[in-house]
Symmetry: D2
Subunit: 463 residues, 4 copies
């Protein structure tokens, strides 16, 4: 029997189904042994985890690092963004390569890899965002999936930005990807009503300030678009993924669709679960602007219910960091706020404190929502998403008793503010391990830049 | 006691609620007396109705006379169209004034009245079709309603024709009319998916012929658009009316919306109740092309169910007559068929034979669907829509035993073909009376051109 | 033209569908003429109705006159009960003949007729309550229906009283009556849970007083029994009528059943619409005890909703009068309260004030709920239930402006208390006419004892 | 590191969530190690499992060994029944102690333990069947739960057998157990309708033979009773478990109840999933009689759907073995058939062939339905129901390629017939291990009588 590279001792191993005390032994980046007593050799690194949970590493399927947007670029690049992820117990991220209208999808993919590969500190993958649809795009879908990118994204809004897909494009893309095992993620909002309302509130922008952002995007604008996207999935047999779902109404629509057998899945984010649109009323209200925006208390409640009953299968973050300086560009016009906030670094501990600690979420469910389901649906399982013999040794030693008061200044992100500033957490990652390498300890990055690898993912992901 | 102008003797009077044998006496165009024995004076015209029903005159809220469309003009003008109506037991029609983008709504209304007023043989009203939305249009809504036109129409398709209203316009118009007691009728189809599919089938147009018309407009394109329009009605509190609803799926959507309290109403037409899209397969398949097109047997079945259970409240015809010569312009390209068919002349007898005769519809329900509900919802009740003391004497003496085989050549319409050619009917109007004047007998027009009046209708119509 | 017996002049005639000003002429007990001007001869009685409504007479399908119950007999006999009805605008009542276990149904019918026929002051009919089921009972069903009694009643409770029908009996009776056009009315409560709870609260009877009555019969005991009875109607194809439905939960169950096509109808009563179970808390709480008892505010609200949306089709009263002296027999034990209250005399004016006046019920709906629907469903239409040529001249001249403060002492009923004591009404019957005879004026009976006739009703009643 | 007692080498370990190749090491009856290479010492027993699955042992929560019923005793006693279980890959069974009316529950428990303890070959537990309800029974609930029996059973039928619980008892028991963490399993059929129908068909028993069994118990008799039991669970907040659910209608009812938050769970059995009531038509139709009986093809289909979508959480067998000789006692009267069939021995392989092999059930779902869910819901997890470090080493080495044609004569059960005689299976247990001891090989029992232990189970089981 060979000497193990690393052993996590005495922790409470948690998978989507089970929870038990055991040692976890790692060899060559993979889990080799789960046992009541795993022998460490002289060169074996030992991580003591007594009293701690050992989770499979968190997976954030929705991040935007160094994204050019709204006239600036999001403040965490692939290097610092993945460092922040590691510090927060996330060992895999999925970012986006956005097609330029008129160009090929693969051009965007290759450009994005060139930005990311040298910098990433943990494993990462890419979704391909489709902004154009024609015979060439259609033909390219198979190539992109074969390349290891089976998940696509389409925007139902952002007409002026040149990103919007109309219903015909969305329909066609669902149809095409259905054949090849891909899925379409959608940013679902009702573009024409929303544009009309934005225009309406723009005329009173001084009166409302940042709060106009939420006034102009009522819950029904997400609901309607989700219902519509679902209808196209139903018509085509395609697989649909609702990204950053923010309303209870949309959760109901997903629920109803699943009842009748539509292949639809949904993601929500901590900001929609934990905040409400009162945040837009303060002096710094503009900082909180994301797209879609944070909604009402009843939405949070319904989204939490969705996590418990399976209507919502995945928690991700839509991380897109803009500093207070970048945000200041809005200058009182809610239409000009760079939308986005930090998130990947705080997802796991926030969901632990708020979900497991306060709302009775089982730790198995936490793992399911932030690791196993993402891995399965996005074609990375069983390498990612569980702790099993043969899986990648992406592990998080999580101290359920550790008390942390969140401060932007303490975090790895380049962002100088946090939507959860001052929140008191009980439970925090103490050690993060990526393919057998310790990459973060007590919230500080200790790994190597470039350690991460691009993940070639498989099609036909499902739950 | 004054001498009556006309007495209908011994008929079986039918209203939305009751059915009883009585004489109906008319004075000065209005019903003066309903009694077991009404005295006729020497100058009183007597219409014997023993063994016949006496219905309130039919109301067809959806006709397009002399409509410029698809490079031609629909073949029945206001004169012949209203003659045909009278022959078929219809004493009121509602046509449309379609705004020209950039011009005022009232311009269109006045132009349409100039065409109609001198010609109409029975009473008529107009809906205003809104194709543009801006501050001026919004301001004009009140004026149009005050003028006697509280019902508007918006097209969710016909982008290239310049008629389409996007969701923002529809939302705004629902919002505005809600305040003033108006309602918005919608032609509901999913424009972007539909345009994509039309384009797709256009590439195989020789292969499919007229059947491509139905292939390119699957049921879900109506369903989705109806769901979307309902959502805007729900969001705004506006009143929505689904014109020419052709699918069971849309009927389900209306049902669900009514369950949750949305102010939505729906109309269907005989062609959707009685035909299915096999008609597009024959040599003359192109004749049957309407928009939306005739759907599947399950749709007919669900629409009939809707008539029985109240999901569908109104039967109208979408009459828009094109002759075989006009239809021939398609020349094998399904995109170029002038959409439309005759209908106003056969609505009442078809619904009697197929509804009352074959499917157990009560005669009260027939009257409700083709007269009382249209009158109430469109602001014409109680002048129209019932037989009551003081109401307009718009009456149809209907012989329930009369056997008629439908032939285009026997009908008043200028159309040289009929979608129901050769259908055998049992039950047909024998006398039609408009405001106390006999205008048709045994299917032949005997009234005067110009007898009809423009109806100033009231807002806040409901059922 | 013969001279009319009576003319109601200038009133606003209301039917289920229409409302219009007209004179109503009566000859030989029937409506002969409805016209703008009906001539009165020298011997014609003229009732002036200007500014008043003319309704078809109210029909109360649920009364218990001179009912032996709980060791006493209900205080209004057929004479005084029908006088009270007439005073309140009710011209038809349906009472019950309750089979004695082991005896024939017809025995009970004949006994009941012997009690009623000489006394009734308005027309009346009987339901047959089945308490036994065997081959003989089954065989008798046809005879009872042929006799003119197509509507039966079964009690799902009252085990100790010998009235209870178990599920097997109910199933069999639904099955049998379905063939012959009868229907089964049910008193629906869950007997075994209810008996257990009554026993439980009996142990604390001093603590709770009359309030124990409501504690021991939670809403779900009605809901469950209604769901169960509906299931048997669904299984057998039988027609079911839920008498005195008192909960919102049961209304939901009826709604759901109707959605899936079950032949189920429901009645509620003013006490369930207008009172709530706080009434049981006062010193005179025991007076209000009926069975089922008055429920919660949310139940009233849902029942009102049911009247508006068609879930509940009939309003009746379950009149079963017990005086304060009779009620005093309870002596602190809620199990011994004689259940019942007065009602037939106040139904129409209460529903007018509370429904039409306060909640926006259309007068047509009022007529539908209290006259037309009862007549149609119970096989009395069109003689009863409408104002049409040839119908019985059962008419109520109703003054919508008359202000009345309800006082038991002012009413015709023998009851010395009223559940609505002191309620202020706006709108009250001024004249009640039974088959052309004025029987009440301004709340005072002016007719003849014995004027009423037993109604031979028809099977296959429906709405 | 101590020497292991047993190692299962190279198998594919399957849990509710994961599947991976690993060795499983056992020490002192428990799983000690799961690793890519587990060292076996000289005294370690090695079970080679290459190419085989390693499942957590099957758990059958519904067996009736040596049950006195219908004048005879079921043919498999605790010894042979548990041997049969072991041969079929089941390592835990739950049987019943049925209270004698008037006696204490604990008396029945102790009597049953005296029968079982000396004989059982694998671990077992007991449910307590409550047939009586009074203050003493109520008081005893806590004692029974503390003893290790948190799950109770009540029969909604079997009135004459003295087993029936009426709704009041069921309500009370749900209420009481809710407080203490127990649950109530119900045999749900509508007793009064069922008894009436049995009587009806008894009059034609020669005509129908065994088929009268199914005629007299239509699907709605289960549906109604399930709905009713659910209502009491909802009213009390109690936890309800539907045993041997046999209809699609009941599955719908459970689905609806779960949607509104009722704590209800459901079990079905292979006979309901794989057979339909055509079986009662043959000469040996009576053999198949169970209670409830096998239903219609649409029921099987809906129950399979329930296994896939979570409406049905557990598969068990209701094993109650009667030989052809015992069954012959019916003598043509369907009311006298001893109800029951063998099952525990074939559950796992049948569900594998029919579920995993033919219907696309994931092996994880198979394990969930037949092991993990039973363990969790019935208070035995994590000792039972998974393969995790520290869990009982109850393991099944399952050969997915082994072809077996089922023959009663080849099975361990004492039954001389099988409902699945001649069925061809692909996949069968090759080795069954109970707490680290090999107890069956290739379908033959190789363990020790009395090896099994009584399981003291915990309350508050849930999924």
């Amino acid at each position: 029997m060979v000497e193990l590279d690393l052993v996590v001792k005495n922790g409470t191993v948690v998978t989507a189904a089970d929870e038990f005390v055991a040692d976890v032994g790692v060899y060559d980046g993979k889990v080799a042994s789960i046992a009541s007593d795993v022998s460490a050799g002289p060169d074996t690194q030992v991580v003591e985890a007594k009293g701690n949970y050992v989770f499979p590493g968190g997976i954030d399927v929705h991040v935007h690092f160094q994204l050019p947007f709204s006239g600036t670029v999001s403040a965490d690049d692939f290097e610092n963004g993945t460092k922040a992820a590691a510090c927060g117990g996330v060992t895999t991220v999925l970012d986006f390569a956005i097609q330029t209208k008129g160009s090929s999808i693969m051009d965007a993919v290759e450009a994005r890899r060139a930005e990311a590969d040298p910098k990433v500190c943990i494993d990462y993958g890419l979704h391909a965002a489709i902004t154009d649809w024609n015979a060439q795009t259609q033909a390219e879908i198979r190539q992109v999936i074969d390349y290891g990118i089976p998940t696509f994204k389409m925007f139902m809004i952002y007409k002026d930005e040149g990103w919007m897909a109309d219903d015909g494009m969305l329909f066609s893309a669902l149809e095409e990807t259905a054949k090849l095992g891909g899925h379409i993620g959608v940013h679902a909002e009702s573009v024409f009503v929303l544009d009309m309302l934005v225009e309406r509130y723009a005329q009173e922008k001084e009166k409302w300030g940042a709060y106009a952002h939420t006034l102009s995007r009522p819950c029904y604008t997400e609901e309607e678009a989700v219902i519509r996207a679902i209808k196209w999935a139903e018509a085509t047999g395609g697989q649909l993924y609702i990204v950053h779902m923010s309303t209870g109404e949309a959760a109901e629509a997903v629920h109803a669709a699943k009842e009748r057998g539509v292949r639809v899945f949904a993601e929500t984010c901590p900001q929609y679960l934990l905040l409400d649109d009162e945040v837009f009323k303060g002096e710094n209200g503009h900082l909180y602007a994301t797209c879609p925006q944070i909604k009402k208390p009843h939405d949070s409640e319904r989204l939490w219910q969705g996590l418990f009953n399976g209507d919502v299968q995945i928690v991700a973050t839509d991380t897109c960091t803009f500093t207070t300086e970048q945000k200041a560009a809005w200058n009182g016009d809610f239409r000009k706020i760079p939308f986005g906030m930090p998130g990947v670094e705080t997802m796991v501990p926030l969901m632990y404190t708020e979900g497991v600690g306060k709302r009775g979420l089982a730790v198995n469910q936490l793992v399911t929502l932030t690791s196993t389901n993402p891995a399965k649906l996005f074609g990375m399982y069983p390498e990612k998403g569980t702790i099993a013999v043969g899986s990648d040794a992406d592990l998080v030693v999580f101290d359920p008793k550790k008390k942390v008061t969140l401060r932007a200044s303490d975090l790895q992100t380049n962002c100088d503010w946090s939507p959860f500033e001052g929140w008191k957490l009980v439970g925090y990652p103490s050690v993060t391990i990526s393919r057998g390498r310790v990459v973060a300890k007590d919230g500080k990055f200790v790994g190597d830049v470039g350690h991460g690898r691009f993940l070639k993912r498989r099609p036909f992901g499902k739950l």
